[in-house]
Symmetry: C2
Subunit: 202 residues, 2 copies
DNA sequence: TTGACAGGTAAACATTTGTTTACTATTATA
DNA sequence: TATAATAGTAAACAAATGTTTACCTGTCAA
């Protein structure tokens, strides 16, 4: 895809923002005002360039603009992480293969989704295959359901504290608690489970 | 939500389709042509009605139409029914007060969402407050989790058949099975539970 | 140095588009 | 039956909008 100049990118972002937030595209004169251009000719040139380079398509008529590469990101989309995020959480999103739409108010900055493996949290009615929405947090409160990286594996557990000590407890008694910040394996808290999706109820 | 007349619904569907497929809203005259109306006044009346009833919002300017939030991405929005649908399921949608976005592939025609009350399906890890997505069906297969109207109350249960007889079973042994099509209360099948949302994991 | 290109100003123009006025017919409803 | 709401026709009008012409200013690579 042919590269855009800085001004052209500004124009594209404005068009995309208006469609996303307002629901319909801007007029040429609205684009003028946004970009501080006094003549419609200047703004029209940007639209022509965007069309020529394949970023938008235009038809005759008012506001007849359409984004070609539909990058209308919705805040209600979250990534499903196939691999457990090993590096900094910042790069999680670029590696995500699958995205899923969720109720709009679930979609906060930085959140992601993990698929639950195993039945260690069956006591809290979180079963194998469920998708849990994770809100990234470096620490957790007493009793919260969290996602932690134990060794190289992500696991969903409840967090319990006792003085300076803390541990992760399954709600299935078949699994032993995992001590936090103790001599054992390295444990890193990824975040808190805030919601859940079950794709197939059988 | 106030009901639409048939013509108003036609108009709304055209507006939504143009935004969805073409990327920007239709002009009044395009709406005229679509609906076979010779005067712009006639089409404008429909838009005014849609705005008054809260289905769209309008601003000054060409094609300045926007679908209200619940109408956007219509395929991925489902209504949460506060009251149990007593009448024909067809009218369920116009009475719904609350709508929620769901993963796009969950949003099939006619589906709706019910909030689970009680713990009768706790054995299947469906707990109080969970939102179940219901696919309307008049009959169900052996062992499926269904929603049925027992008397005036909607209930989530598993459907079991034995020859000509059938019954609804809770997965919590504390609840007795409910016979279907027997001398007891009238039971009507609303549909099958296909997915689940848990808004708050505590 | 020159030419291509992005970016811009200014003004006029053509068209689309929304809005309004006035009047008629149909349908649902109290 | 009376009344309101809905639906429509026709025509004119005002505003918004896209398009075009003509000319200017930089930047950058051949």
């Amino acid at each position: 895809m042919e590269k855009l100049t800085e001004r052209q990118r500004e124009a594209l972002e404005f068009v995309a923002r208006m469609i996303e937030e307002r629901g319909y595209p801007p007029s040429v004169r609205e684009l003028c005002e946004e970009m501080g251009i006094s003549s419609t000719r200047g703004a029209l040139r940007h639209l022509e360039a965007l069309e020529r380079k394949g970023y938008i398509s235009r038809a005759s008529g008012a506001r007849a603009l359409r984004l070609e590469e539909r990058e209308r990101y919705s805040k209600a989309y979250l990534p499903i992480l196939g691999e457990v995020p090993a590096g900094p959480l910042r790069y999680v999103f670029e590696e995500a293969e699958e995205w899923i739409s969720v109720p709009a108010n679930w979609g906060k900055e930085g959140r992601f989704i993990l698929r639950v493996r195993g039945d260690s949290m069956i006591g809290d009615h979180i079963q194998e295959g469920d998708l849990v929405v994770v809100d990234p947090q470096l620490s957790g409160n007493q009793g919260e359901i969290v996602v932690a990286l134990v060794g190289e594996e992500a696991t969903v557990k409840r967090l319990y504290r006792k003085g300076n000590e803390a541990e992760l407890r399954a709600s299935n008694p078949a699994y032993p608690p995992i001590p936090l910040k103790e001599g054992g394996e390295e444990v890193r808290l990824l975040g808190r489970v805030v919601a859940l999706l079950r794709e197939k109820v059988i």
